[in-house]
């Protein structure tokens, strides 16, 4: 009898794995459906956990960000219709730092060679913000020597390029900056990301409709930076107000109130901003007696 049961179990196991492989490309729901890509030798190595690096953020996503899905990042629009460069930069900054977390997690695994990052945007948006700069990206923590920049003439071509890059299985993360992504392209991106387990971060216009078919959606607002450790007049560590607006794997996380994260350039991780430390800094600043200055146009 015992052997019969084990055969049955084996059959059921086999069927389960078959269903799983059939459903790999279907949208996943629930925490149990964290994808398994172990059967692909190529994909297996990429499953380094991708986390924010602080407890408050990682409590939302116990498994980390999914590495085979699309994550959307939006700035907080400052006006009803439009968005300023600053609103965009909040989302772009957060995405770039997530990419840093990803490359760091990968380089921590000794087996992997230095992974490449691809940055893709249409010319119209690139014209607004200029060019990614070598020194600036090095300052952020992304290796600029391993950055491919794709600038396409139209937004549709950018989507095409992102999809192609996701299928290439040669990148740590693809960052796309686009005005908006419709449902169909978003689904295509999601499938492409799942196919080769290459994650995709898309930063979209702060005031546009959210894209569908994404694993998570983050709403990012830039906050005045933390007080500088030594100079009260200088900006300190960057701060973001982060809200998780959508989370496919854990819908319960969405209800959490937004929280303030602080990016440390040295440890290259997010931390929960400490308001107490700010107060101390404020008093220090007040004690140093800065009077209201007189301003003139020069």
């Amino acid at each position: 009898m015992g052997s019969g049961v084990s055969i049955q179990a084996a059959v059921i196991e086999k069927l389960r794995s078959r269903i799983l492989s059939l459903e790999r490309h279907a949208p996943r729901r629930g925490p149990a459906a964290i994808p398994e890509a172990k059967d692909r030798g190529l994909a297996a190595g990429k499953r380094a956990p991708w986390e924010l690096g602080c407890e408050a953020g990682d409590a939302l996503l116990p498994e980390g960000l999914e590495t085979n899905a699309v994550h959307e990042i939006k700035g907080e629009p400052s006006a009803a219709r439009g968005a300023s460069a600053a609103d965009w930069m909040a989302g772009i900054g957060f995405a770039a730092r997530l990419a840093v977390r990803r490359t760091d997690a990968l380089s921590a695994m000794k087996s992997a060679n230095q992974p490449w990052v691809l940055w893709c945007w249409p010319k119209a948006i690139a014209g607004e913000f200029g060019l990614p700069s070598w020194a600036g990206f090095a300052h952020l923590g992304l290796d600029p020597a391993r950055l491919i920049i794709v600038e396409t003439a139209r937004a549709a071509e950018a989507l095409n390029a992102i999809e192609e890059s996701l299928k290439g299985a040669s990148l740590a993360v693809v960052i796309g900056v686009l005005d908006e992504v419709d449902l169909m392209p978003a689904r295509r991106l999601s499938l492409a990301a799942g196919e080769m387990a290459t994650p995709c971060l898309i930063v979209t216009h702060p005031a546009s409709e959210p894209a569908g078919a994404t694993a998570t959606r983050w709403r990012i607002k830039r906050l005045p930076s933390a007080p500088h450790r030594f100079d009260p007049r200088a900006p300190g560590l960057s701060r973001f107000e982060v809200a998780l607006e959508r989370c496919r794997a854990r819908p319960a996380s969405v209800a959490r109130p937004p929280f303030t994260l602080e990016w440390s350039d040295e440890t290259r991780r997010f931390g929960l901003a400490s308001v107490m430390a700010d107060l101390q800094a404020e008093t220090r600043r007040a004690r140093s007696g800065a009077d209201a200055p007189t301003l003139r146009s020069y």
Binding site: A43, A135, A145, E164, R296, S297
Partner: protein, 499 residues
């Protein structure tokens, strides 16, 4: 009944005839006469304005088509085409058959042509223009008999300037053969000018083949080339794909025997109606994978217009590189989960163009916009694993630099201090905190010799400023107060955005 027809262009003395059809030539009109004179004699003459630019394009098209007789060819002047048929003639039987074939095809397009074939470009030029018997369409100088073949031709055939031809004629030298016997030194003495003599002798030597003549072909000759001709023209793109894939695997085999990999491949297709087109794929690493080449080419197959069918497909390796130098097996461990991005770059470049896919490279300069350069990824990846100079220091730099610094209106506490308020893109922003200045002086070695009208570069003071919403900008003040004479007051610019 065909009408006499002429092409005209306006000159200093009114409209002049530049070209005629044969009917017009038969009734005695000559090129160069004024249109009004010709009209007076032959009222039925039809005329149109000449369009030399279009003529040239048509000639280039014809030269492109002529690639079926040899890969090295180009237009020659305004009315000629040269083709290097070295090693090609036997494909057509012999040289005479080749000339017959070419004449027949040109005639079938309605192109009246005269052909000359000789060992050298100069001799072929002379034969085509001056050596054709009146009843024949072509003239042939058999191999090694160039000297005799052009001896009887007039000296105009030597491609000399008109003034030099006149001088030769005045000296009684009317035929090329007359030049053979004159000692070279005495020729110089006769001309009284070493320039003219050198010119004449050079042209003569080129025609006789004792001096090599540089020729610039239309396209660089391919390093390797495989071709496939069809008895029945291909129309369906599936069939073309199949044959292109066959050619690709043939080419890859040839590359493998020479230890090469292709950097650029070109698939040329010759249509049955005599036109030709081509697809090009460029690869960042020397490639020896037929599948990869085909994938790149296949994406462009949709743009092929097969017309009446394609009767010849040719795949060339235009640029090649040493393949074994960048073997992937050495570059990355087998267990690496990431593939080399070269293949991805190839696909992206194939779709969006060479300049759309770029990588950054640092440069030795401390001027921010000069400290880095964006280069096509295709070229940089090919230079495989170039060691870029190590980062000098982790300087405070914004993630995005504007293409050119944008002027801003600034209100500051003190003239030399950081801004307190500024207007950028018509929005007023209040500065909460600032860091700086970082003073960047112009590179003195660039300020030594300035062109006229070039502005003296000025010192910049850079600040990182943060407005009350937390957005951070990189701004600079160009110029200093009271230190540089003759330059206006300092002005403010926004140069970058911190992410």
């Amino acid at each position: 009944m065909r009408q006499p027809f002429a092409l005209i262009e306006s000159s200093a003395h009114g409209l002049r005839i530049t070209a005629l059809n044969d009917v017009a030539a038969e009734i005695g009109i000559e090129t160069g006469t004024a249109l009004s004179d010709a009209r007076a004699a032959h009222p039925t003459l039809i005329s149109r304005a000449a369009e030399p630019q279009k003529d040239k394009i048509a000639l280039l098209k014809l030269a492109r088509w002529a690639g079926r007789y040899g890969p090295n060819r180009h237009i020659d002047g305004e009315e000629g085409i040269w083709i290097d048929i070295t090693g090609v003639a036997h494909l057509f039987g012999d040289e005479e058959n080749l000339l017959d074939d070419l004449t027949w095809r040109l005639a079938s397009f309605g192109v009246p042509a005269r052909l000359g074939l000789a060992d050298t470009l100069g001799a072929a030029y002379a034969l085509a223009r001056f050596g054709c018997p009146p009843d024949a369409r072509w003239a042939l100088a058999p191999a090694g008999e160039t000297r005799e073949a052009i001896a009887a031709l007039p000296v105009e055939a030597l491609r000399l300037e008109t003034s030099r031809v006149l001088l030769l004629k005045r000296l009684g030298l009317r035929r090329i053969g007359q030049l053979y016997d004159i000692p070279r030194d005495s020729l110089q003495r006769r001309f009284r000018s070493s320039d003219i003599a050198a010119d004449v002798l050079m042209r003569l030597d080129q025609a006789l083949g004792s001096v090599e003549e540089p020729r610039r072909p239309m396209q660089p000759p391919p390093v390797l080339s495989v071709a496939c001709a069809f008895a029945e023209p291909l129309v369906s793109s599936e069939a073309m794909e199949t044959f292109a894939a066959q050619l690709a695997s043939e080419l890859v085999e040839e590359l493998a025997t020479k230890d090469l990999g292709a950097r650029t491949v070109r698939l040329t297709f010759y249509r049955a109606d005599g036109t030709a087109g081509s697809l090009t794929a460029t690869m960042s690493m020397p490639c020896r994978k037929a599948a990869h080449m085909m994938m790149l080419l296949k994406e462009k197959f949709a743009t092929i217009d097969a017309g009446f069918g394609i009767d010849l497909l040719r795949l060339d390796a235009v640029r090649v590189g040493k393949r074994d130098a960048t073997q992937s097996g050495f570059a990355e461990p087998a267990s690496s989960p990431f593939r080399n991005p070269a293949a991805l770059v190839d696909r992206l470049v194939n779709r969006f163009g060479r300049d759309a896919v770029t990588v950054l490279q640092p440069r030795a300069s401390h001027i921010p916009e000069r400290a880095e350069v964006r280069l096509p990824a295709l070229e940089v990846l090919a230079a495989a694993n170039t060691s870029h100079p190590a980062d000098p220091k982790n300087a405070l730099r914004p993630a995005f630099l504007l293409a050119r610094p944008e002027p801003i209106d600034v209100i500051a506490e003190v003239p030399d201090g950081p801004p307190a308020q500024f207007v950028w893109r018509r929005v007023e922003r209040r500065v909460a905190r600032s860091e700086g200045p970082e003073r960047i002086a112009p590179e003195w070695w660039r300020t030594l010799y300035l062109d006229d009208g070039q502005k003296q570069p000025r010192t910049r003071d850079y600040y990182k400023i943060e407005d009350h919403t937390g957005a951070a900008y990189w701004v600079f003040r160009r110029g200093l107060y009271d230190s540089e004479e003759g330059s206006g007051p300092p002005s403010w610019f926004l140069h970058g955005l911190f992410a």
